[in-house]
């Protein structure tokens, strides 16, 4: 009997979760859903492919400007975020910052920011300062600052600190941080910042559906007007560009890792 206890518990959890999600409380609700997938999903995929293909290639002329806006939003936000992220990561590191008050305050700030997704922030900015590229840039910047700060804090806390502790003996804290800690952490931090840029790139493509500029607003517009051939053209360009940039960035990260 003990053998089946685990499976029973597993099935019961799935049963309750499915019940909450679908409001169907019959005991075999999950199998009903799987049957539903089997019946409808593949037909849906066929229908979906029929909708988006063939893409309307004449529409590509209008895609370029919003696409450039999206890319700009992604990397401008990372450029703005880097200095703030470095300062906050130093403040939030247990090893560098010995002051308990500022340490816990910055950590609280990071976890508060982490609990607000980028799109929620973007929609709040759209409500305050209006539709456009700037609300998107602000939201992406906030995300990039705190995400990069959190990752760099982890890197600092697991780094080799002998050089830094030696530096503390001969100079003051500021120069020791710049001269010794910087050297230990630099390449990992650079790779983190590239990763942040990748995440922001993906967010910036779709952030326009809440009205924050970029190509997302074009996608939303075309879906609202049922112009699915145009959407197919947009998606073609977007995925080509994202795949290209990710390929180059992965090469760049390899170069950084070997330095």
């Amino acid at each position: 009997m003990k053998k089946y206890k685990f499976f029973l518990l597993f099935y019961l959890t799935i049963y309750f979760l499915t019940g909450i999600v679908t409001s169907n409380w019959s005991f075999f609700n999950i199998f009903g859903l799987l049957l539903n997938i089997y019946a409808n999903f593949f037909y849906g995929v066929q229908f979906f492919l029929k909708m988006f293909t063939p893409p309307n290639l004449a529409y590509l002329g209008e895609v370029w400007k919003p696409l450039l806006e999206s890319l700009t939003m992604a990397y401008i936000s990372v450029f703005i975020a880097i200095p703030f992220a470095v300062v906050i990561s130093l403040l939030a590191s247990q090893r560098v910052n010995k002051n308990k008050v500022t340490l816990n305050l910055t950590r609280l700030l990071i976890s508060v920011d982490r609990s607000l997704p980028t799109y929620v922030k973007a929609s709040i900015f759209v409500a305050i300062i209006g539709v456009g590229i700037w609300s998107g840039i602000l939201a992406l910047t906030l995300y990039a600052i705190f995400f990069a700060a959190r990752q760099i804090t982890n890197i600092i806390d697991s780094a080799d600190m002998t050089a830094y502790n030696y530096g503390l003996k001969i100079t003051n804290k500021f120069s020791a941080t710049i001269l010794f800690l910087y050297d230990q952490v630099l390449f990992q931090a650079l790779s983190t910042i590239i990763y942040t840029f990748e995440i922001n790139l993906k967010s910036s493509v779709i952030i326009g559906i809440v009205g924050a500029g970029g190509i997302g607003s074009l996608i939303q517009f075309n879906i609202d007007w049922r112009q699915f051939a145009n959407v197919g053209a947009i998606l073609l360009v977007v995925f080509a560009i994202i795949a290209l940039i990710e390929f180059f960035l992965s090469k760049l990260r390899e170069v950084i890792a070997y330095e």
């Binding site: 999600v21 979906f48 929620v120 409500a127 700037w134």
Partner: protein
């Protein structure tokens, strides 16, 4: 010398891209602050209106359920694919390696739009979306975990299970159950964040109400939702860190 030259070239390219970006942005003026909305925001920040929870709806519970169910499904999908794409188990691993980068190219909300247009709006669309989005990252990490095992354990597995796929599956799960569970917890954290926003495109959860209340300047309701979500995330962060420490 060549290293320095390469770094110099990278820096020059970055500055050129930066200047191009400034050129694009400078055509867009910085919009003025909407002071009415800002006042409402500050009022809502101080006085959240929790009466939305008394109306018998269950946005938060639904969001948590979507995230949990999506995580379970993504685990069930991701483990076999990760086994197939590990070079220690499968000889033809290369064709399976294309799956996870292909999924990870798509942004999460875009997959949400696709799934909603396939299966229709509702919480079930959110579950499928999270299962697919989370699958992309899970495969990558599981592959690394599986490849970390030494060859000895796989030869034993072959002897015991006559190299059947299910046998390998169970042996690998049994060997790495702690790391897989720790990974699932990390996935759960990020999946909960996706489950909050997935409602923006009509795929269930709290997102739809949240977006509507922000767009209509009803910040008292919006911050009532956001504060509860914040507490939820902070508790989850703490609990997950504690459990992960115990698993290692």
């Amino acid at each position: 010398m060549s290293n320095k030259l390469r770094m110099l070239l990278i820096v020059i390219a970055l500055t050129i891209i930066f200047l191009l970006g400034i050129g694009i942005i400078s055509t867009e003026q910085i919009p003025p602050l909407n002071s009415v909305a800002f006042d409402k925001l500050m009022y809502g920040l101080k006085n959240p209106d929790f009466s939305i929870y008394l109306e018998g709806n269950r946005y938060i519970i639904e969001t948590i359920a979507i995230a949990l169910l999506g995580t379970i499904f993504s685990m069930i999908i991701a483990l076999p694919i990760a086994l197939k794409s590990s070079y220690k188990i499968n000889k033809n691993y290369k064709r399976w390696n294309y799956i996870s980068p292909l999924i990870r190219i798509f942004p999460d909300l875009l997959i949400g739009i696709f799934i909603v247009s396939i299966v229709g709006p509702g919480s079930w669309a959110g579950v499928l979306t999270i299962a697919i989005v989370s699958c992309g990252t899970s495969i990558k990490f599981f592959k690394e975990i599986i490849n970390k095992n030494d060859n000895q354990s796989f030869t034993y597995a072959k002897q015991i299970t006559k190299s059947s796929f299910l046998g390998n599956y169970l042996v690998v799960i049994g060997l790495n159950i702690n790391e897989i569970l720790a990974n699932a917890l990390t996935r759960l954290e990020s999946n909960l964040r996706i489950a909050v926003i997935i409602g923006f495109v009509g795929a269930g959860g709290v997102g739809n109400v949240l977006l509507h209340s922000i767009q209509t300047y009803d910040f008292e309701t919006a911050f009532a939702l956001i504060y509860v979500l914040m507490i939820l995330f902070i508790i989850l962060d703490y609990v997950a860190a504690h459990i992960r420490k115990k698993l290692r």
